[in-house]
Structures are given as structure tokens and as C-alpha cells.
């Protein structure tokens, strides 16, 4: 069960960088980035639809990754570069994934030196838990 629970390692490389663990994969996350665990993403055509969805938004930093998005089908996650000046939020990111036909299991966003984990509760409501990287304390 342990591998199914994402947790934060807090191996900070700096105040704007951290590592999150999804299943067995440790993923480096930088300032203004999101890491999304996607359920059901089993083929490259699935991944293509997710990439297309993000490409049509106004909050993706296309200078990062591959036009703003990196997809790992094996580990079932997507990394997204976020424009610093945008109003990107978890709800918008979840909407892109759901419009592509897939579900978000959990989501991490690192912005303003704050790493926030989002996941759905039993009622399907998105819940968040924030961690301030400068003090390494969870809220």
C-alpha cells in the first residue's frame, strides 16, 4: 500500500525545488511546475490528448519540457510548466486531464516556494495540503 501513497521527501535542493514520490518514482519538481498522477493513461494516444489539452491553455510555460508538458506513461504522471504570471490552479489542471478523458489521483504544485499536494476525498472534493519549503513544515 505504501507505494500507492504519495509522500513528500523534502529533500530540498533549494527553496524552489523538491522531490515528490508517486508509486515507485521520485520526481524532481521545480518552482512553477506541477506533477500530476494520471489514472488510465496507458498509451501514447492517451498522452497525446493530454498534451493537446494543455497546449490550448493560457497558463502553461511552453519553454519547459516539450512545449510545456512532459509525459511518463510508465510511471503514469505528467509534468507541467506553469507561467509565473498566470492564474494556474489545481482545478484548471484537473479539468484539462478530465477533458482528455482521464482521472487525477493526486497533484503537486510548487509555486512561491510552497509545495501543495492536492487529492480527492471520498466525496470527490479536491483537498489540499501545503508545505512551506523554507521551513520544511507541513500545514
Amino acid at each position: 500500500m505504501k507505494q500507492f501513497l504519495a509522500f513528500l521527501l523534502f529533500l530540498n535542493f533549494g527553496l524552489s525545488q523538491s522531490v515528490v514520490t508517486l508509486q515507485d518514482s521520485e520526481i524532481e519538481i521545480n518552482e512553477n511546475e506541477a506533477v500530476v498522477e494520471v489514472l488510465g493513461m496507458v498509451c501514447s494516444m492517451c498522452a497525446f490528448g493530454i498534451g493537446e489539452g494543455f497546449s490550448k491553455t493560457d497558463f502553461v510555460d511552453k519553454t519547459k519540457f516539450n512545449d510545456g508538458v512532459s509525459v511518463d506513461i510508465d510511471a503514469q504522471f505528467v509534468q507541467v510548466g506553469l507561467l509565473k504570471s498566470s492564474d494556474a490552479n489545481a482545478e484548471k489542471i484537473v479539468q484539462v486531464i478530465e477533458d482528455a478523458g482521464y482521472d487525477v489521483n493526486q497533484l503537486f504544485i510548487l509555486q512561491n516556494e510552497k509545495l501543495t499536494k492536492f487529492s480527492f476525498d471520498k466525496l470527490g472534493i479536491l483537498q489540499s495540503m501545503a508545505f512551506n519549503l523554507s521551513s520544511n513544515t507541513g500545514n
Binding site: 500507492f4 508509486q23 489514472l39 488510465g40 496507458v42 498509451c43 501514447s44 494516444m45 492517451c46 498522452a47 497525446f48 490528448g49 493530454i50 493537446e52 489539452g53 490550448k56 509525459v71 511518463d72 506513461i73 510508465d74 503514469q76 478530465e98 477533458d99 482528455a100 478523458g101 482521464y102 482521472d103 489521483n105
Partner: protein, 200 residues
Amino acid sequence: MIRTFFAFIFFLSAISAHPVIFKNGKVFWLTQNPSFNDIRFGVSKSSNWLIGGRFLEDRKSNETFALINNNFLAKRWNNRNSQANLYLLSSVGLDTKNSKSMGTIGLHGDWEDRRFMVMQMVEYYSYSSAVVSNTRFAYSPFTVDYSKTSTWLIAHYRVEYSNNKYSYMFFPVVRLFKKNYLVEIGFNQDNSFLSFMTHF
């Protein structure tokens, strides 16, 4: 003629791994076999509804059908490393020469992970009162990441019930896809076909 037409319908239906794609996504595909040329285009208006048009040419009789497809994703189960789907399929259209109408209705279920895929589809054709069952078992000998070519080995099995008679057909198929492009090549002792599909 009708049997060949059904076989072609089967191939077209089976090449689409997902009859509905991402919201606002478009799908275009071409298929050619010894009997038919076919062009399809569709738009997913949402993540669970795709509508599109199709032109089908019988290469022997030069008959052409114009159809509208309506695919609805009734339920999707997204799980870690796997996905399952239940679709409702329908189409209505005309024979462009005599304007005779025709319609189909079908049920499509599938399950897949990175290595295996199973698919079952049943369709009813109004103009001939035929029922066609299509079954697919697929295996990918290796998994690759998003940027590389994925290979699948597929066994098709088809049963048609029409005019109080059953007919059966088996086809081995190779599927290759990379990013948003898919090609399938299949053959048996009597026929062969080639399909190309892309999402954009």
C-alpha cells in the same frame, strides 16, 4: 457483397482503440482493402461524445455510402496502469445513388493496460437485420515510452449472424502507433487491409 461490407465495418470499428477521444480532438482515418475505400473524420465534442462523417466506396460496385457516426462513452474506468470502457455506437446514412437509408447501433467494451487489450463489440444493422460480434485479443511484446513506436499483435475474431446463418472470420493484425499516429496491417488467406489513423 453484404458479407464483405460487414467485414469492412468490422475492420473500421476495430481499428479505433478509442471511439471517443479528448475534448475538441479530431480524428481522421483512411482504410483500404480489396473491396473498399473509406474516409472518416470525427470531432469529440466532449470527452464522452464524438460525432463525425464517413464516406465509404465499394470498389467493385462503385456504390458510395454517406454516414454520420455518433459515439458515446457511457462509462470509463480509469485505474492505475489500466483502463476499461463501455461505448454506445450508432450511425445513420444513405446510399448516395439510391438514397436508401441505413442505420446501425452497437455496444463496445474494452479493457487495456500497457501489455494486454481485450475488446468486444456487438452491432446491429437495420437494413439487413444482421448482428455482428467482433472480438479482439491483443498483446504488446514490449512497452515503450511516449516518444517511441508501440507494437501490438492482435487476434481478430468475428461472428456474423444474418439470414439464420452464422459466418466466422479470423484475422491476425499488427498495430504500430507512435504519439498520435496509428497504422494497422492485417491479412488472412483471402484478404488483407491497411489502415491509418491520426488524432489532432
